[in-house]
Amino acid sequence: MAVPIYAAAMYMSYRSAAQQLELGAERDADELASRLAAELDAVIRPIEGGIRTVAAQLEEIDPPREQYELRIRGILAAWPDVYGSTIAVETASTHSSAGPFAPYFFRRNGGVEFSDLALDSYAYQTLPWYRRAADGRQPVWSSPYFDRGGGEIWMVTYSVPFFRRPADAPRALAGVVTADLDLNWVKAAAENAVLGPIGMGWLLSPPGQESFVAPVGATAARVAAFDASITEQTFRDAGERMLGSGVTFELVRGVTAEPVYLAVRGLETLDWRLMLAIPRAELLAGARALLERQLLLGAVGLILLVAAISFVAAGISRPIHALAISVDGAREGDFDFRLPDTRRHDEVGVLTEALRRMRDSLQRHIELRAEDLAARARLEHELAIAASIQQSMLPHGAADAHPAGARVAAALLPAKQVGGDLYDYFERDAGLLFAIGDVSDKGIPAALFMASVSGLFKVLGSAGELPERLLARVNERLAESNDACMFATMGCGFLDFETGLVRYASAGHDQPLLLELGGSVEPLQAENGPALAVETLAVYPLTERQIAPGDTLLLFTDGVTEAAASDGSLFGLERLSALLRDAGQGAPDALVRKIVEAVTAHAADFHATDDLTVLAVTFAPRGVTPSRSTDGEQWLIEPELSAAGCRDARRWVRQILAARRVVDSRIADTELIAEESLTNLIRAASEAGGKSWVSLTLALTPLEIVLTLRDNGLAFDPLARAAPNLDLEIADRDVGGLGIHLVRALADECRYARVDDCNVLTIQLNRMAA
């Protein structure tokens, strides 16, 4: 990194030095140009002035021609650099009748000689030096030219026209005064000019047919030293191009083997050019030397720096390496690694201290985590105990511990270890009190609230309250001190074993399903009261429903119906109803098992959703055996051989038919048939004693009610008895035989058979009254 920065700094320093040198060279060129111009002007300006003065005098005075020589000689005498001079007279002027006249005096061999230009062969008035001044009507310098056959020198001519104004005529050209200037002195002046320590220079006339060149300073020697093949001509084109585009200083490549700086200046005097060429290598030699010196110093400095850094770095990296080895021990889980004991106050010391702090905080964190895990394990253990306590609050009926008139089965699967669902049932007053509940929320708060609800239910339920009052009282207690704002839904019923009447009340709970013996399923249409613990004075409507032996009431919490499958579909009431319909006749525990299996199979992960509770209560009074028949339901009633037994049998017939919503008149008819046909049988069996028995089977099909009476008494066909004569006077009437007469009259069909030493009397009625 340091090297590129250093190199960039070097380059900038070099560029800056080079720029300074370039500026200096430019300044030198300016200076040289102005010096040369001044030197040339010092010679030329006085001559210009003098010749113009002569011309002015000629206009003014118009001397005779004889005097012209005197004046010309005066010019030669006045300016030693004037090589020759003439006054050439214009002959085209109308007022002059004289012929051409142009005496020329020039220097030769230290004296002044005469030459007459007014020769026909010369025809001076057609020559450029004359015509340019005459036609331009103003003084003009000629381009430099080499005077061959004459002075054999480089010359330049200054021509000044003069005019006269004769009377009654316009001002007209009278002639031209000239002065030929020997350019040797220019060469000398250029050569004598002091050129800087480097470079080459030329003074050049404007580009023309023949150009005059004067090397400046010691040019020839320098050209030889630089590149002998170079001449002034080599740079002329580049110089003229620069002048054309207004550039005065430029690095030119390609003209010479090495690039050169070219400085070009135009002089006002005679429109001459000063051209300086400076080889770049020479101009920038100083800058390069500086650069080389700096590079050398830089390299040395760099080496020293690297050495110093290595020394310092070694002092840092050794302890850091030691640290790394120490910390590496932590990979094995040993956070008790020892750190080097350092008293350093530099970065290594800070790093070691930071690592020490990190190690200590890790150790603390691990200790805290271990404590946390222990605490969690304790909590898990406590929860497990809580769960088992909670389970113990629920009744655990063994199969043979069923109450006298019902078979009950239940399942409670909490979503967490402890849950907010509950169920309970116990026998009371020749009936079964049962309930199911669902506390809002889950987990420990719900479990505690559940315990409270469960306790109240047990205490108040045992006290003899019926469902609607029981719910009201439980609610009252809960609502009194419900600071946690929990609530619970509860469904509560009481099944009377004798009457088969269910009294049911609901505190915001789902309606239970009633599964009839034959397999039909319908919800128990129970009106709902508010959930428990919400309102202090809540009233719970009572629903009454007659059920038949073998019918099952299914209570459940929303963990069943709202168990969601992975695609979000809920288990739902429809699925539950269908499951009950298809379950076939079975014990409630089998039914509960089927439901739990179906729900858990449906739900991807039911434990994560909600508590799941099912309670099934099947009415199973003693002395009645329900079963399904091919086209309906049937109940085998085995009465005690007593008047009470007979009464009970009739009662079952009445209650079962009422549960099936048979019209009252048909119920009465059927009961009457049962009474008339059963009374004598039971009496006879009772009198016979021993192993006598009588049974009554009530079968229901969609269309018919069939009573079948069986007994193992002596063969006796009651239908064989003749019908009593009812038209006899009352005094002559036999009071017997009325019963069987009534049976025959009310039934649609009666049959008697003796089967397996038993009397079988079958009595059939249409289910709908005639």
């Binding site: 008149s665 009465a668 009961e671 009457l672 009812l726 009352i730 005094a731 009325l738 019963g739």
Partner: protein
């Protein structure tokens, strides 16, 4: 499911039966009938069945016994206002002649007046 019997002690007693009259409750009615029939000179016995829900042959026998006890002495047994189910049973066994069954007290009074008139005419 019981039978409740109320009897007025007039010379023309009415037995109001409420509930069920069957094998179980017939002895109860028999007991009351014994007491009523023990009175001398009973010419008319009315069974008010408007509150009777159920009637079986055991109950009918009670009515027949009452008729056998009173009618030979010129007395009359009337049934008042039986419910349809009960009426059906009565009709089947013809335990009481149709003319002895009345739908209302007014109908019964009219009938009794007619009988008295008949007696006076004789």
């Amino acid at each position: 499911m019981t039978l409740k019997i109320t009897v007025d002690s007039s010379p023309t007693p009415t037995l109001k039966l409420v509930g069920r009259l069957d094998t179980d409750t017939a002895p109860q009615l028999d007991g009351e009938l014994n007491k009523v029939l023990a009175r001398k000179g009973i010419k008319r016995l009315v069974f008010d069945l408007s509150g009777l829900d159920y009637l079986s042959s055991a109950g009918i026998r009670c009515f027949v016994r009452a008729r056998k006890s009173i009618e030979p002495g010129g007395g009359t047994v009337a049934i008042l206002n039986p419910q349809p189910g009960v009426r059906k049973v009565l009709d089947i066994v013809k335990a009481i002649p149709a003319k002895g069954i009345f739908a209302s007290v007014a109908e019964l009074d009219e009938y009794l007046d007619a009988i008295q008139q008949q007696v006076r005419d004789q």
